[in-house]
């Protein structure tokens, strides 16, 4: 393992969302263009400064499409399809390309009209018939992706005695953060009882254990520290990164209660030379409440099996010991199909101290953890001032 291959040479210089939510009326490309324009403004950079484009949407050739739409001729592109963790991967890839001198300013974008397209998405089933899952999982009614996470939650409850009340604590803490974020889709506080009374979707996961569905987009500008030296915002350094994929299809996951976050986290911490105890603010892809419990254990914030008691008592919420998913997360803030880019946006704002009522005190070091597929891909970033 190379210690700090980025050598404080790579920063995140700009971040922004498009207009996220329901009935926004923007196209997939408009979401990306709007977020890109705002992220460039945030950084104090111009479009002509961008020499690399990394886009993910579901239109086919996304980096080329958004580069054309914006009028950029990139000399480096990447479209990594690892599900919701792709944006943490792309920051790693951008950092490597910048550290290698292949480009200077990377524009990463995402856009989705998941909410507007929901009927088509839901009825379509979504899995290509040539993929094994279409033969061995879809015929059984695998309510993808919820059922895969439900199977992991049921197994975690079986092995460790984790309770549905404990899972609900994640939803409650996240909603308490959303209440402090004017951009969040749902801001009314909820209780553990509210979560337990919400309709069962795939046991043990109920409606309020599941992320919301929205339209939306985001953009992140990664730049060389040299180029970013005199920009508008204080630089946020990419200090460490790690990736691990253990499977794609849920039946192929060796152990449903231990994820690839063990390895992605270990790599990222080793690269940055820090430990979980050093982290001030955590952004974990909360597709479902169980996702956060699994990731906190696997990243080393608590021991395996203790995630349920760890998240109880408001530890993750405002005023808690470990501020987690401070934007309100996928559970309450927004979730346009993939949430990975929004984790980065929020972590950068926290590290800059821009978060007002939801600011985590003294945030100098942030952990961002993306999860893709069916607990399939895990990408960890460590970001710092």
């Amino acid at each position: 393992m190379t210690r700090d291959p980025f050598k404080r040479k790579v920063v995140i210089a700009g971040v922004a969302e498009s207009d996220c939510g329901h009935e926004v009326g923007l196209t997939i490309l408009q979401h990306q263009a709007l977020a890109a324009k705002r992220a460039l403004d945030d950084a104090g950079l111009r479009k002509s400064d961008v020499d690399a484009v990394m886009a993910v949407d579901f239109l086919g050739l996304p980096s080329l499409q958004i580069a054309e739409y914006l009028g950029i001729r990139p000399r480096f592109t990447d479209t990594t399809v690892t599900g919701g963790s792709a944006f943490e991967n792309l920051v790693e890839h951008a950092a490597l390309a910048i550290a290698a001198g292949l480009c200077n300013v990377v524009l990463i974008t995402y856009g989705s009209t998941l909410w507007s397209d929901r009927r088509r998405v839901i009825e379509g089933g979504g899995v290509d018939p040539r993929m094994p899952a279409a033969q061995f999982e879809t015929p059984y009614g695998d309510l993808s992706p919820i059922a895969a996470y439900a199977l992991a939650a049921a197994r975690h409850q079986h092995e460790f005695g984790t309770t549905s009340e404990q899972l609900a604590e994640v939803a409650v803490a996240t909603r308490n953060w959303a209440a402090l974020n004017p951009r969040a889709l749902i801001r009314e506080p909820i209780t553990v009882e509210d979560v337990l009374r919400s309709p069962m979707i795939a046991s043990p996961l109920r409606r309020l254990d599941c992320c919301v569905m929205t339209d939306g987009g985001g953009a992140v500008i990664v730049a060389s520290a040299e180029r970013a030296r005199d920009l508008r915002r204080p630089p946020v350094y990419v200090l460490g990164s790690g990736f691990c994929s253990t499977h794609l299809t849920i039946s192929q996951m060796a152990n449903l209660t231990t994820t690839g976050a063990v390895e992605s986290g270990r790599r990222a911490f080793a690269m940055a030379g820090v430990a979980p105890a050093d982290i001030d603010v955590v952004e974990i892809y909360d597709s479902f409440t169980i996702s956060v419990v699994l990731a906190l254990e696997d990243l080393g914030f608590c021991a395996k099996g203790e995630g349920g008691s760890f998240v109880a008592g408001g530890r993750l919420g405002p005023g808690g010991e470990l501020p987690t998913n401070t934007s309100g997360g996928g559970l309450s803030y927004t979730h346009p199909g993939a949430f990975g880019i929004f984790l980065i946006i929020e972590a950068v704002r926290q590290l800059r101290g821009e978060c007002g009522a939801r600011q985590a005190p003294g945030a100098e070091l942030a952990l961002v953890h993306g999860i893709g597929g069916w607990l399939s891909s895990h990408a960890t970033l460590l970001l710092g001032r």
Binding site: I122, F136, Y140, G141, A147, M200, A202, S203, S251, L256
Partner: protein, 135 residues
């Protein structure tokens, strides 16, 4: 067709033997001729040793529930009349794990670790799906 049928597998070169066996009410797995490990789902090379030699072996189809979930919201129209139904991961003594439905039992009776046995459900003229019911 008024009642929507569930989405059905399209057998391919890796899986045609598996689905033909299921049609005969047999559960079969590939066993690697190199390292002797069993694998599921079917594929052309061993995910342990990369050997492309294998034999098909008939399984007794007796396993245990590794995990299960009761699905209350249908993923597609085809499942709307079936909710709530049980989706499970079944562990077989061959060392493989597969997704299936649990049938012939009440969700309240099901436990992780519970012994189950394969049962076959004809889903169309061509396709029979291996499912599991309590032993």
């Amino acid at each position: 067709m008024t009642e929507q049928s569930r989405p059905l597998p399209k057998p391919d070169r890796d899986s045609e033997y598996y689905w033909a066996a299921a049609r005969r009410r047999e559960l079969v797995f590939q066993q690697c001729a190199g390292c002797r490990r069993f694998r599921f789902y079917p594929r052309a090379v061993c995910p342990d040793c990369m050997s492309d030699k294998f034999e098909w072996r008939r399984s007794e189809g007796r396993g245990v529930v590794y995990s299960f979930t009761v699905i209350h919201r249908a993923p597609t129209q085809a499942f709307r009349d079936r909710t709530p139904y049980m989706l499970a991961l079944i562990e077989l003594p061959e060392g493989v794990r597969m997704m299936s439905n649990l049938i012939g039992c009440d969700p309240a009776e099901v436990r992780i670790g519970m012994p189950v046995k394969v049962a076959f459900e004809d889903a169309s003229e061509e396709i029979t799906l291996p499912m599991f019911r309590p032993e």
